[in-house]
Amino acid sequence: MNNIKVEILFPEFCNLFGDMYNMKYLKMCLPNAEFIETALDEIPAFVNEDVNLIYLGPMTEKTQEKVIARLFPYKHRIEELINKNVVFLFTGNALEVLGKYIENEDGSKIEGLGIFEVYSQRDMMHRHNSYLIGKYEDIEVLGFKSQFTMMYGDNSASYFLEVEKGIGINKESKLEGIKKNNFIGTYLIGPILILNPLFTKKVLEMIGVEPNIALEEDTMAAYEARLKELRKL
C-alpha cells in the first residue's frame, strides 16, 4: 500500500515515558510513510482526511483534561474511524480519555469522550508499577505498567491482552486494555513496539503493509531474553 499516513496526536504534551520512540521506530519500519505531528491547538488530520494509524501517548493528568476538551468535538469521527478499521494505538493513560470519566480521589469526575464503557479512578499518592505478559492472538506481548489509575468496567468483549502475568485494567482483572476492530488501547508504557517485535509486525499487517520491521534480529533477541526473564519472576 502506498501513501501510508501516521498521525501522532499532541506530541508536545503526550510524550512521557519514552513512548514517542514507538513512532520513531515505526518510522524506521515504514521509511516511506508520512508522519503527521498534530499539536494540541491544531485540528487533527484524521478529522478531514484518511490516515492509517493514529497514535496517542501517555500524558500528565492536567493534559488529559486538555486532550479530552480537544477531542470531544470529534467523538463521532473517532467512532466512525474505529468502525472503519483504522488502526489506533493509545498507550498509558491515553486510553482513559475515551472512557466515560476519570474520577479523582475526592470523588470529582472529569467527563471523557464516552466511546468505551469504562471509567478510571485516580490514586495520586499510590503509583502502581508492574510488568506484564499477555496473549494477543497467537503471540505474547510483554511490557511495563506505571500508573496512578486503575480502570473499571466490562472489557470482556473487547480486551487487548489476556494476561498471563501481571494485571489487567485493574488489580482484579486479567484482561488488559481495549481492542475494538483495529483500535488498541493499553496501559503498557514505554517503547512497546520496540520491546515487542512480533506485535509490531501485527500492527504493520493491520495497516496493510508487509510486516518487515527494523532491527529485527536484535529486537527479537532482546524480546526473547526479556520474555524468559519475566517468566522466571
Binding site: E12, F17, G18, M20, T60, R127, S146, D218, T219, A222
Partner: protein
Amino acid sequence: MKKGFRFYMALWGAKTGTVLLKLLRRNATFFPGKFALKICPDFIGKIDKPKTIIAVTGTNGKTTVCNMLEDILKDNDYVFIDNKYGSNIDAGVATTLISGVTFMGKSKNDLAVLEVDERSAPKIYPYLTPTYLVCTNLFRDSLMRNAHTEFISGILTKYIPKATTLILNGDDLITSNIAPENKRIYFGIDRLDTDLDKCENIARDIIVCPKCNSKLEYEYVRYNHIGKAHCPKCDFRSPDIDYLATNLDLKNMKLTLKNGNLEEEYDLISDNIINIYNIVTVITVLKQIGLTQKQINASMKKLKIVDTRYSEEVVDGIKIITHLSKGMNPIACSRVFDYVRKYEGDKAVILLLDDLHEAANGSENIAWQYDTDYEFLKDESIKQIIVAGARYLDDYVRLQIAGIDKKIMVCKRDELSAVDGLKLEGIKTVFILHDLYSMELKEAVKKKVEVMIKNRATEQEEKVENE
C-alpha cells in the same frame, strides 16, 4: 506542637536504638527515625528543631549541593546537623533531628542542612518548615516513583510551608514556578556560547505556556527545559535572576556572581555545567545565610567532587574517567553523554548503567532509555562503545536506534569480558559511565582497563626494544 508521652517514648527508644546500633557497628542513619515515626507519626513536628533549616531538594544535584554546603560550613567552623550519611526521606530526616537533640528533646544546634527527597514532601513539610528550601531543578526522574514533573512540582507546591523562603533555579521554568506565593530568590547562569536556539534533547517538559497553552519562545536553550523563555501571548516568562553567574571562564576556571550591583569572582572546581549549577546554588545559599565571598571561595577551592561521582586518572598517557550516570534518570544520563561527546580527543565509552537490584531481582523497566539522549553518543570522537550487563541487548537496540554503527560496539552480558573488547589504539580517554549502585563493578572494570593500558604500554616498549 505539644510533646506528649508518645513523643518521649519515640525519642528515648530511638536514642537507645542509636546507641545499640553504634555498639553493633551498624549505621544508625535510618532506623532510629523509622522507629520514632512508627511510635509517633507526627514526631518530626514535635521534636525541637534548629533555628535555621536549609533543605535541599530537586531531581539532580541535591546530594552534591548538600555535600558542598556542609564542607564549606564546616571549614568555616559552623556547627550543624545534616543527613549526609542518612536517607533523604522522612525516616532519615527524623534520624538527623534526633541526633540534634538532648535526651530531654532540646535542640543542641542552631543550624541544619537537610537533603530532602522531593517525593517525600507530603511526609516532611507538614511537620518541618525549612527557613530556606533550595530546589536545584525538576526533571523527569524515575518514572516508577516520580511519574512526571507536573506531579512532583504539584506536590511541592501543595506541601511547602508558606513561611519558607525558596532558593530556586531561575533557568528552570518548572522549578521557578513552584509554590508561587512563597518568597523566592533565583539563581542562574547567564547566556553561554554553548547555548542553543533549539532544544536537541528528547525530554522537554515545558514546551507550552502553563497559563495560556501558547508555544513558548525560547531565547536560548541550555539543555532540556533549562534556558530562557517567554510566552508570546501572556506575561509568563523566565524570572529575573537575583544571583546571576556571568563571565564563565573555563580556561581560568572562574566565574563572576552578580547580585544587584555587587559583582564577586569565584573559583570553579569543575568545568561540567551540572557542577557549575551546583556551585552557583551553593554560593547563593551561603551568601544568603551571611558568609562572605572570601569565606566561601577559600573553602570552595579546597573542595573536590567526590570520587564516587567523578574521578580521573592518567595511566601511561591514557586518561580513565569514571562518571556517575544514574540509570533510570534520563536527564542525568543525557548530561553525562553530552559531557562525554564534548570532551576533548578520541575516546572509548564503557556503559554500566543497569540497576543492579533490578538485574538481580526483576526486569528493569527500560522506558527511561527512550527519554535519554543516547543520540549524543553518535559522535565522531567516540570510537568505541562497550555495552554490558543485564540489559545489554536493550542497550544494543537503543544505541542502534540512536544511529550508532554496530561496528563500533562491543555488546556482551558479562561486564568484565566485554571490556576485553576494548581497543586502545588512538584513544585518549576511556570513559566508564556507571550507576549509583555499581561502585564495586565500576572499580573492577576500572582496574581491568588500567591493566590493559599498562600491558599495552609494556608491549609497545618491548616492541621498540626488539626493533
